[in-house]
Amino acid sequence: MDYFEEEKAVDIKGLTTILGGQTILNNLSFGIPKNKITTILGFSGAGKSTLLKHILGLLKPTYGSVFVLGKNLNDLSEFELKKFRRHFGMLFQYAALFDSLSAYENVAFPLNEFTDLSEDEVEEKVYGLLESVGIKVDSFFKLPSELSGGMRKRVGLARALALGPDIMLYDEPTTGLDPITTKMVNDLILNTYRKNVDRGMTSIIISHDVKVTLEISDFVAFLDHGKIVEFLPVKDFVNSQNKLVQEFLAL
């Protein structure tokens, strides 16, 4: 499925993953275009999370290879991989904020870990990031347990954006949210995309929420039983002739 002209942020070639004797990804090949929003859809158990772990280099392919920003992850050592992950930002389904740290400290965490910024510079940066995702100053020093689910996601996004990632990953960003929060998260993803489009940031969304996907994605890939069975620009995806896709769209 290589007919896109776009430059690729992630290029997967013949990826096969066997875990515990079970083939989870099966000779999967496809490229994720740079500077666009691509959603990977699929039923539960299709292998979405596994694919995500490969893109992050958290799992090693049994066969095949994963290229990210032109680098073959197979060629990187454990140490180089750790460093390489700074190209990624990830928003977890439940934000995964460190629960002993305040919103501010969560966002400051990657800055303190990986940059030489002074305390003042970090403060300025954190304030900017938190404000840009719509958190008010009076919530900056609250613990995650004192924030609502929607606010936690905002903080999680600010943390993910702290180091200016080249690839932003969203794991099930709207699963299990009420319609209003879903809309809010959607807008957040779009805004984030627009603000970083000049930098060439790529967004990858893992989801099984069709409606949301169609609203914000540029491209949609459909994963089933460890294979990409359809990969199209969003306007063509709704007209896909694939039986499974049609079934999924009808849900």
């Binding site: 991989l81 995964a96 990986f114």
Partner: protein
């Protein structure tokens, strides 16, 4: 006949299963310990985490250790006095209590208390971080969750337990002295008269060495069960429970092993 056979075969099967499970569990713990030594010298060293763990482990158990130490010493004074009532024991209560505390009671009881308080807290904390994907968040940032969470806790517990055990020892002796002189009417100078003859620095050293290893094994087990939590919810409670049970059992088993070594190398 058939029933009896079934009963025995299923019992044997059960024992076999437990044995295999136990052994593979032991193997995984040993592997976990190797990982600790692999990550220990690696940069960055998490000093801030270490300090906060030292404070946490030391502070959390300080009061309860002092309280347990006082009452253990007080009870020991009574038991020694009335246990040896046939011989003149006034001068023996001090040294016997001090020796029992130094070599066994202070390190072992401190170990059991810390296993209950801090070992369980480690499993609960790391386990809930795993369930809520906070460990994944660390890994995605390129930070080893093992190095960030396990290493400082294991160092801190290994350093804290000898300190807590020393406090137990000190408060225990004070408690024993008070019961001895106020309730049992032993003369204050007689209470101390034989201490120097019976008790040596080595005895205190044995207790400290033991408590160092107890702190190590308690935190290894606490963090191990934390990392082992499966995604899903119920796992954290189970892990916490297992950390306490296996932490305590390991302290008692290790106490036997260490005693048999130390007695040979340092004298009984």
């Amino acid at each position: 006949m058939n029933k009896i056979y079934k009963f025995f075969s299923s019992t044997v099967e059960q024992i076999g299963f437990s044995l295999i499970n136990g052994l593979s569990g032991l193997g995984r713990i040993i592997n976990f310990i190797f990982r600790f030594f692999y990550w220990l010298p690696k940069n960055p060293f998490r000093l801030k985490e270490l300090v906060s763990q030292l404070y946490d482990i030391g502070n959390k158990s300080l009061f309860i250790i002092a309280l347990s130490g006082a009452f253990t010493g007080m009870v020991m004074a009574y038991q020694t006095y009335f246990g040896f009532r046939l011989i003149s024991v006034d001068s023996l209560v001090g040294p016997v209590v001090a020796l029992s505390l130094a070599k066994e009671l202070a390190p072992v009881l401190s170990g059991l208390i810390v296993a209950g308080r801090s070992g369980s807290a480690m499993a609960a904390h790391i386990g809930s971080m795993k369930v809520t994907e906070q460990l994944d968040a660390l890994e995605v940032m390129g930070i080893s969750s093992f190095q960030y969470l396990a290493v400082p806790r294991i160092i801190a517990a290994s350093l804290c337990l000898p300190m807590l055990s020393s406090i137990f020892l000190f408060v225990g002796n004070v408690g024993s002295y008070f019961v001895g002189t106020k309730a049992l009417m032993i003369d204050g100078t007689i209470y101390f008269s034989k201490l120097g003859k019976w008790m040596f620095v080595e005895d205190i050293g044995q207790g400290l060495i033991k408590s160092f290893f107890f702190g190590f094994i308690i935190s290894v087990i606490g963090t191990y069960f934390g990392f082992k939590v499966e995604k899903g919810a119920a796992g954290v409670g189970k892990a916490t429970n297992q950390a306490v049970v296996w932490g305590m059992i390991s302290v008692l088993i290790l106490d036997y092993i260490l005693t048999s070594f130390l007695v040979q190398f340092m004298g009984g």
